[in-house]
Each structure stands twice: as C-alpha cells, then as structure tokens.
Symmetry: C2
Subunit: 256 residues, 2 copies
C-alpha cells in the first residue's frame, strides 16, 4: 500500500530535507522512524528538497508500506510522530493510488517568505523570519512581484546545483507572487508549477532590493527571459533560509 | 544612571530567569553581556523569576550603569543585543528614576497561557503551547476563570518554594482571567497584583480540568480562601511550562 504523508517541520535544527551521510536531515529522521516501526528499511520519497534552515508546513512524501505489515493507514501518523522529534510532525497520512509519486505527480508548489521589519527581531521569530529593520515600499514590492508572474525563463534566478545539462529547462510559470502585511512585517507568497534551486530566495532578495529603493524594477525584470547564447546576467540577491516556508505541494484532483 | 530594560526571550533553551551556578539562565546571559560591555560586573535585578521553559514577551529588569561609562541610554539596547543570543532580546531600554526597582516598584503582572487543541502539535508550536488534543468547553472555561477573579487567598494554587514563613501572605487579587480563541486553540490571560510560585500554571491546570469536564467548578473554586488552621486542600493540576508567557510587568505611571 502506497501512503502519502503531509509533513511539517521547523527547519532550524536540521540540515535540510535530503538524506546525507552526516544524518540529521528530515528525511533521515523519517527513515529512522520508519525503520523503528517496520523493522526494515523503508525508502521515503519527498516532493523535493528543502535547504538547511528552510521550514515546511506542507512538505509531502510517499512510501510503500511493507506488505507484511498489516497496519491501518490511520495508525501510521501517531506511530511515526511518537518516533519523530517534536520539531518534525506528520500532519496527515492517507492511502494514495499506486501511481502517486510525491515528486513526479506534483503539479506545483506554494512557498511563503516572512520578513520582519521591526527594529528588534523578537526572540520567537529568530530563525523564522528575515530581519530587515527598515521600511519596505509596498507599491514597489507589489510592482516587482507582479513582474515575476507568468511563464518566464528564470535562469538568472537559480543557483547552480551541479546536475544541470545543456538541455536543463529554466522555464517555469509563476501563478501568484504577492505581499501581504503581517503584524511585524511582510509575507511574500509564491505559487507556481515549479521552482528552480534557490529561486524563491533569489526572487525575494530581488524584490526586497526594489522595495528598499536600492534597485529598479526594470533592471531586475530584465533578468527574466534572457536570450540563450548571450552571457547570462544573474540576480545576486539571495534571501537567507530563515524566512522560507514550503507551504503546500499541489497535485491533480485524482491524486490528491 | 538607572536603566530599565524590557526583555523578551524564548524560554526553551534556558534554565529560567534566575542566575544559578550552572549558568545558562537568562539573567546569566544578561550579566555576561553587561560584563563584556562595561568591563566590570554589573548586577541586574529582574521583576521576578520565570521557570525553565517559560517564555517572556515583556520581562523587566533594572541595572545601574557604571558612572565611568558615559554611554547614551539608547546605545545600550543595540550593544546588549549584539552580545546576547538571538533567543534573548532587549526590546526597550530607557532611563528610569533612581527609585525605580524592577521588582519592588511593580504593581502587577500579566501572563498568558497558550493551549493547542489540534490533533497534532505543529512543529513551530513545540515547546510554545500545551498540547491538549481534545475539545475544551468554552462556557466551563469562562465560568471557572471568572471564579478566580477578585481578591482571594490562593494558597491552594501555589507550589512550595522553600522560603515561606508562617507570615507569608498568599493573598492576591486577580483583575483579569479569561480565555480568547486562537486559530489552533485557546489563550488564557491572567492579570493581577502578583502571582505566587507556579500559580498561573496551577490556575490553568485547574481551568483545563473543568473545561474537559473532569472536575466541577465548585470543587476547584472551593480551594480558594480556605480557613487558616485547617488542613490545606491543594490544587494538584499544574500545566507544563511550555505554554506560559510573561506578557507584561505593570508599574505606576510616574515610574513607567
């Protein structure tokens, strides 16, 4: 039986999602919890990586329950949560069709990015928001975010991950990019059919430069859709991991 | 020059407010920060203790700036925050009259206590709320909290601290005790002229028992104002430290 998990985590204590030799990643903790329950290694596939310090409210993953284990799907959630640290929680566990794949079935993702503009970053926001103790211009913020919407080549807003080939597409469609006021600053929300490595943090970094009056919207929007073959202009503003939250992974209705 | 600090902290990493030989208390961190700036020990007096794991949004303290140090009061806040861990922050620093005393000038305190009633405690609420995944009856909650209001002998709702004498008064006046809905549960707010050791946590524990339908309001209200000389009935419900926040310390207008 294939099971779909919806997972939330505080990114501060972990070296990101992806399993690695040093351990202490979210995936490593899930593998350990599954091993403790199933008494055998059970591979778990996430919707994608999150970096060190990035948080998740709705990361998704799937695994196949070992056939010998006749466990009701609704018992997996409490069983896993008992084995996991309190800063990683399975928020939902449901049976999924056998063709469901946490990564390849996903049709899009929503991230948000929190910015605290208070003079002092409150202790309970430490590591959970980017501290920018200066006013951001809401009109400029709205303008530059609107420019990012739509289908674009986002190559300038992607960090190099090492697995690119000349055929790697940097074309993505952003369906929503906007800013809403928080009591202590701003929340930027980005929805799209996919995001390149560090793309949300680079879009946020660029938007902040504009909202601080330190860059022109036109200059940053000009980094979109650059002609192939010419030297690539890159966005060199990358927001820290602290404020980034993977909010939701989207799937087609029949696989939801 | 006497300076008044308003301090916020995440209680999770610290062994409470009060300095102790093992260190790693909030007061110890403030002493270290002051020592680094003043190059001499500067005693700091808080409004009162908070226990291990208890949070503060508006703890207060005072210290006397060494006369040799000609530092503008507005420079103390950034100087201290540079030396403090991110989970302890001086939110305000202001000159106070020489007779101001963080503890003895206080006329009251406000605490709040957060309860999360969701089936799963979200990772970002771990250690910040009491997880009670069952419905609480709002009417019962309101009723029992109202019974706690007013001047009462709260001896039954105090833990023994070891420094009591036969003359120790357990008489306090609660001016506000109510529950407001949060998106994930309830926030109980208590204001009063003072609180005994663990009193807010015992009042919260008692209120929860009633709101769960596991105790009668009359039985718990009967623990208030017990006659001296008779064996003392005690409240044996104490909420964990996780959900407790020292919100504000109150001072007379001329010392504010």
């Amino acid at each position: 039986m294939r099971l779909k998990l919806t997972i939330a985590y505080d990114g501060r204590p972990y070296h990101g999602w992806q399993s690695q030799p040093g351990g202490n990643t979210v995936q490593d903790h899930l593998h350990q919890a599954l091993l403790a329950i199933a008494k055998q290694p059970v591979p778990i596939q996430g919707s994608g990586r999150t970096d060190t310090g990035v948080h998740a409210l709705g990361q998704t993953a799937h695994f196949d329950a070992p056939p010998a284990l006749t466990m009701n799907p609704c018992n997996w959630m409490p069983a896993l949560n008992t084995k996991l640290p309190a800063t990683i929680r399975v928020m939902r566990c449901e049976e999924a069709p056998p063709e469901f794949h946490a990564r390849f079935s996903a049709t899009g993702k929503t991230y948000h990015y929190d910015i605290c503009t208070e003079p002092v970053l409150p202790p309970l926001r430490a590591g959970l928001a980017w501290h920018l103790p200066q006013a951001l211009d809401p009109a400029a913020l709205t303008e530059i975010l609107a420019r990012f919407c739509g289908p674009h080549d986002f190559h300038a807003f992607a960090a190099y991950r090492g697995n690119e080939t000349p055929d790697t597409s940097h074309h993505r469609t952003i369906l929503r990019a906007d800013a809403t006021a928080l009591t202590d600053g701003w929340r930027l929300t980005f929805s799209g059919d996919g995001f390149l490595y560090k793309m949300v943090r680079m879009l946020t970094g660029a938007a902040v430069k504009v909202a601080q009056g330190r860059a022109y919207p036109d200059d940053l929007a000009a980094l979109l859709d650059q002609s192939p073959g010419l030297p690539l202009g890159k966005c060199n503003h990358c927001a820290p991991a602290d404020g980034l939250y993977l909010q939701q992974v989207h799937y087609p209705a029949n696989l939801r």
